[in-house]
C-alpha cells in the first residue's frame, strides 16, 4: 500500500448501487486531477449476489486495480466480513488493511486486525432526507471522502451532475453526503496520503465507450450488433449517441444478421462495424470468410469473457484468440489488433478502419471484459487520427475488381459508380469477379488469386508498427503480454525491478500477423514469460507457431484479471528456480 495512492472498494449486492457509487468516486478523483483506474466485480444476475467495485487513484498514472486495499465501504454485513477477511478469495483481491466504513446498524461482525472499523449511521442519516434506500450509499461516500482527505466540493459537483435532472434530489444527496462527511471528521481519523490534487479535470471513460468513440471518429456510419456481455456496452453507447454522431445503430435478429448487414454496408461504401463476445462471434465466423473472399472491409470488435460456451458472462478472460484466428475455413488475410488499455482502444479502432479499407479484409479489435467494462482516467485524446479510405476508383478502362497487383490490393468500385458494374463473389473468381468454378475450373487462376489475396498480408507485414516495449533495454528477463494485462504486468515489472531483477516487457498490439521484430527482442533473454488470462496459453502458442519463440506461460483462468502481486510471485519463483539450477 503506497503512500501516494489510495485503493477504495465498495462492496454490496447486485442492485445495491455498487457500480454507480464507484463511478461517483472515480469521477470525483478525476475532477481532482488524479489518475484513476477501476475494477468491477459483478455477477451474472440482475438482483442479489455479491458485487464490488474497486477504485485506485494517484497523482501518477495507475495501471491496474492494484494490490492492497486502504478503504472499504461495505453496504452490508457480508461485504464487511468478506473484504476484511485475510483469506479473501475473490481471485486475487487483497483484504482490507485500513478503514472500513459501514452502516452503524451492522452488528456482530467478525473483527480482524489491520482494520479500523468506522461505523457511520448511514441509514439513519439517509432516512432524514428520503425513503430511497440508495441514499445511504451517498452518506457512506461522503464519509469516505472525509476518510481520504478528499475535496468535498468536487465530490458535491459530481453528485449534482449525477442527479442533475432532479435538482432537488441532487441537493438532498449533497446534504446527506455532507452529514456523512462531517460524521467521519468528527469521529475518526482520516488517512494520510501524499498525492497532490490539481483540480484539473481529466476524462473518465470505459473501454466499451472508447471503442465506440474510436469508431465514430473513424467515420463509422453504421453499428449493427446483437447484445452480449461484454460487447454490449459499446452497442449501448452507440445507441445512446446515434443521433448526436449520425450513426445508424441497429440491433437485428441475431449475430449472423449483424455481420452480414455490415458487410453489405461496407460493400456499398460506408464504414460499418459489428461487435460481439465469444459465443456471438462464433456465429459470425462464416461471414468473416465472406469478407475475406469478396475483399470487403469489415471491422469486428471481439470482446472476450471466460468460456467455453456461456462460461462466466460477467468475468474476464483472454480465451478467444484461437477462435478469432481460426474463424472461417480456408486461408485468407485477416488482421488482429489487441489494444492494451482504454486509450489505445480508442486509437486501435481507428487504425482498424484504415487497415480494413486499405487491405480490404476483415480486421479484428480484440478486447476482454476487464478492458471493455472498467473505467480509467485519461489525460487527453488526440482527435486527429487521419481517415484513409484506400483504393477506391471512380473510373477505369477495363475495370478489374480483383486485379492482380503487386501488393495484392485491387481497386474497389462502389455501387452507384457508372460503368464499373461488376460481380463480387464468395465463389473463387477471376480478376473481373467472375466465378472460375463453373464451366471449367481454372487451377492457374485459382492459385494466382489465392496468392494475390495473401500478398496483401505480406504488404501489411512490412508496415506493422515496431513492437512496443517496457523497460526492456537492459533487461535480462522478458515478459510478453497482449491486451489488457499491460497494467498489471508493467506494475509487476516495477516491483520486480525494485527487488533488483532486471526485467522488461514486450507488448505486441498487432497480434496477427506478428511483427518479426519480436524475435530480436527476445534474443539473449535468460527467461521469456508470456502472461495471459487463459488456461492453454493461446498467445504463447501463436508465438511458437508464427515466430518459433518459446516461452514460459503465466496463466490465470479463474475469471478475474491479474493482480500485479500474483505476477511478481510467479515470475520470482521461476527466476529463483533458474538461479538454483544455475548454481
Amino acid at each position: 500500500m503506497k503512500d501516494d495512492e489510495v485503493i477504495i472498494r465498495i462492496g454490496g449486492a447486485a442492485g445495491d448501487g455498487v457500480q454507480s457509487a464507484g463511478e461517483i468516486i472515480i469521477r470525483t478523483f478525476s475532477r481532482c486531477g488524479l489518475y484513476v483506474t477501476s475494477y468491477n466485480y459483478y455477477q451474472d444476475l440482475i438482483r442479489g449476489g455479491e458485487s464490488w467495485y474497486q477504485v485506485r487513484a494517484s497523482d501518477h498514472k495507475v495501471k491496474s486495480q492494484g494490490d492492497g486495499l486502504d478503504l472499504l465501504i461495505a453496504l452490508n454485513k457480508d461485504a464487511l466480513e468478506r473484504h476484511t477477511n485475510p483469506s479473501i478469495n475473490e481471485g486475487g483481491a487483497s483484504p482490507l488493511e485500513g478503514i472500513a466504513i459501514f452502516d452503524a446498524g451492522i452488528k456482530g461482525y467478525k473483527e480482524y486486525n489491520n482494520v479500523s472499523y468506522c461505523p457511520v449511521p448511514m441509514v439513519d442519516i439517509a432516512r432524514k432526507y428520503s425513503d430511497n434506500s440508495l441514499l445511504k450509499n451517498t452518506v457512506g461516500l461522503g464519509a469516505a471522502i472525509a476518510a481520504i482527505n478528499g475535496d468535498f466540493e468536487t465530490f458535491a459537483g459530481v453528485i449534482r451532475d449525477q442527479f442533475g435532472k432532479k435538482g432537488e434530489i441532487a441537493e438532498l444527496n449533497v446534504k446527506a453526503a455532507k452529514e456523512g462527511y462531517d460524521y467521519f471528521i468528527n469521529n475518526y481519523k482520516s488517512m494520510k496520503k501524499t498525492y497532490k490534487i490539481s483540480k484539473k479535470p481529466k476524462y473518465v471513460i470505459a473501454g466499451g465507450a472508447a471503442i465506440a468513440l474510436g469508431a465514430v471518429n473513424a467515420g463509422v456510419k453504421m453499428y449493427v450488433a446483437y447484445p452480449m456481455t461484454p460487447a454490449s456496452s459499446a452497442l449501448h453507447f452507440m445507441a445512446q449517441h446515434a443521433k448526436k454522431f449520425g450513426v445508424f445503430v441497429k440491433m437485428p435478429e441475431d449475430e449472423i444478421s449483424a455481420i452480414n448487414t455490415i458487410i453489405g454496408a461496407n460493400y456499398a461504401g460506408i464504414r460499418a462495424m459489428t461487435g460481439s463476445a465469444g459465443g456471438g462471434f462464433a456465429l459470425m465466423t462464416e461471414a468473416v470468410g465472406l469478407a475475406g473472399m469478396t475483399e470487403v472491409p469489415a471491422v469486428i470488435y471481439e470482446a472476450q469473457r471466460p468460456g467455453p460456451s456461456t462460461g462466466l458472462p460477467t468475468k474476464t478472460e483472454q480465451g478467444d484468440l484461437n477462435q478469432v484466428l481460426g474463424a472461417s475455413q480456408g486461408d485468407f488475410p485477416r488482421i488482429v489488433l489487441a489494444p492494451r488499455n482504454i486509450e489505445e482502444a480508442f486509437y486501435s479502432v481507428q487504425e482498424a478502419f484504415n487497415l480494413a479499407d486499405k487491405y480490404q479484409c476483415p480486421v479484428f479489435v480484440i478486447s476482454d471484459l476487464y478492458l471493455s467494462e472498467h473505467y480509467d482516467t485519461i489525460d487527453k485524446l488526440n482527435l486527429d487520427y487521419p481517415i484513409d479510405r484506400g483504393y477506391i476508383v471512380k473510373e477505369s478502362e477495363n475495370y478489374k475488381r480483383y486485379e492482380f497487383t503487386e501488393n495484392g490490393i485491387s481497386p474497389r468500385a462502389l455501387p452507384g459508380t457508372p460503368k464499373l458494374m461488376h460481380n463480387e463473389d464468395s465463389d473463387e473468381h477471376d480478376e473481373y469477379g467472375n466465378v472460375v468454378s463453373d464451366a471449367i475450373t481454372d487451377p492457374v487462376i485459382r492459385s494466382k488469386m489465392v496468392e494475390k489475396r495473401m500478398r496483401k498480408l505480406e504488404d501489411y507485414k512490412k508496415n506493422i508498427p515496431k513492437t512496443e516495449t517496457y523497460k526492456l533495454d537492459d533487461a535480462e528477463y522478458a515478459v510478453i503480454l497482449w491486451g489488457s494485462t499491460q497494467g498489471a504486468v508493467e506494475e509487476a515489472i516495477d516491483i520486480l525491478r525494485s527487488k533488483g531483477i532486471k526485467i522488461g516487457a514486450i507488448e505486441p498490439t498487432h497480434i496477427y500477423p506478428l511483427n518479426e521484430d519480436i524475435k530480436d527482442l527476445v534474443k539473449n533473454k535468460k527467461l521469456v514469460f508470456t502472461v495471459e488470462n487463459n488456461y492453454s496459453g493461446q498467445f504463447r502458442r501463436l508465438l511458437r507457431a508464427e515466430l518459433l519463440i518459446d516461452s514460459i506461460g503465466i496463466n490465470k483462468y479463474n475469471g478475474e484479471a491479474f493482480y500485479p502481486g500474483e505476477i511478481v510471485k510467479e515470475i520470482s519463483n521461476f527466476i529463483l528456480e533458474e538461479k538454483n539450477i544455475m548454481e
Binding site: T261, G264, L420, V435
Partner: protein, 281 residues
C-alpha cells in the same frame, strides 16, 4: 433502357429449361421498363443455382452466403438508399437457412425486393428436398418420400408483415415481369415467390405440373390481408399467381432517427471535437 443492357457478359450456366431463365428475363425487362440505370442497381444473392444470377447481369452484383442475402441486402440499402436493391435466391436459401432473416427483414419493411426461385429442391447440391417440397417427393435425402408439411412462403411473408406479397411462375414470364415491375416500384419490402421448375431434380413438379394449375389473380383487393392469406393457402387443382398483397406503410428509413436524414453514404462523417468529450469529464 433496353433489357439487354442489363445482361452481363457471362452466359448463364443453368441447365437448358431451368426456371431461372424466366426470372433473368423478368428482372432485366422490369429494370429496363423502369428506366433504372444499371449502376444504380445492386443484386444480392445467396448460394444455390438460382443465386448465380448476379454474374449474368450487368449491375452491381454480390453473390454472398447461403441464406444470408437479406442481411447483406439490408446493409447495402441502408448504406445507400439511392440504390435499387434486389435480393434473389433459392427456396433452400430463403426458407431453410434464411427463414429467420426473411421474417425480420419483412417485419422491418426494409425497402428491397426479394425474389425467390422456388423449385422445391436444392438444385445446386444435387436435389435434396427443400422446405417447399411436397409430401411424398423422393429425393436423395427423402428416398421414401418427403414427410414434412411444405413451407408456405406466402402466409409466412404475410405473417411477418411484408407490405408486398406476390407469387409468379417461370412458365408465365410476361406476368412475372409485370409483378416484378410492381415489386420494384413498391416502397417497402416486396416479396415474390416464383414457381421455378428444376428440370433435373424435380421433374414431377415442373412446367407440366404447374401450367394447368396456375391462374392469374388480377382483380383482387390487394389491401385485404385476409384475402391475401386465403390466396396463399389455396392449393390443388387451382393455384393462384399474382400480387396478393400490396399496402403502403412507412419503411424502416422513415422511422429511424438517423436514416431519416438521407442516404448514409451522403451524410457527413462526424469527426469528434473537444466538446463531444465533455460528458466524460
Amino acid at each position: 433502357m433496353m433489357a439487354e443492357e442489363f445482361r452481363g457478359k457471362v452466359r448463364p450456366d443453368w441447365c437448358p429449361g431451368c426456371g431461372n431463365y424466366a426470372q433473368l428475363t423478368a428482372i432485366t425487362q422490369a429494370l429496363a421498363e423502369l428506366n433504372i440505370k444499371p449502376e444504380n442497381v445492386a443484386v444480392i444473392s445467396g448460394i444455390g443455382c438460382s443465386s448465380n444470377m448476379p454474374e449474368f447481369l450487368n449491375v452491381y452484383g454480390y453473390h454472398s452466403l447461403h441464406g444470408r442475402l437479406l442481411p447483406v441486402a439490408s446493409g447495402v440499402k441502408w448504406a445507400n438508399s439511392k440504390l435499387t436493391v434486389i435480393a434473389y435466391g433459392g427456396d433452400g436459401d430463403g426458407y431453410f437457412e434464411g427463414t429467420q432473416h426473411l421474417y425480420h427483414t419483412a417485419k422491418r419493411n426494409v425497402d428491397i425486393t426479394y425474389m425467390v426461385s422456388d423449385n422445391q429442391v436444392f438444385g445446386l447440391t444435387t436435389g435434396q428436398a427443400s422446405p417447399t417440397a411436397p409430401i411424398g417427393l423422393r429425393t436423395k435425402t427423402t428416398p421414401d418420400g418427403n414427410i414434412e408439411t411444405p413451407f408456405n412462403p406466402i402466409t409466412y411473408a404475410l405473417t411477418a408483415g411484408a407490405t408486398f406479397v406476390a407469387r409468379g411462375f417461370s412458365g408465365d414470364v410476361k406476368f412475372l415481369k409485370e409483378i416484378t415491375v410492381k415489386a420494384i416500384k413498391h416502397r417497402g419490402f416486396s416479396f415474390i415467390d416464383v414457381f421455378s421448375p428444376c428440370v433435373i431434380w424435380n421433374k414431377a413438379n415442373g412446367y407440366d405440373f404447374f401450367r394447368p394449375r396456375v391462374y392469374r389473380v388480377t382483380d383482387n383487393d390487394v389491401t385485404d390481408f385476409n384475402n391475401a392469406y386465403r390466396l396463399g393457402m389455396e392449393w390443388g387443382d387451382k393455384i393462384p399467381i399474382g400480387v396478393f398483397y400490396d399496402v403502403d406503410r412507412p419503411i424502416y428509413d422513415d422511422v429511424d432517427e438517423v436514416l431519416k436524414n438521407g442516404p448514409l453514404i451522403d451524410q457527413p462523417v462526424h469527426r469528434l471535437k473537444d466538446e463531444d468529450l465533455e460528458e466524460f469529464l
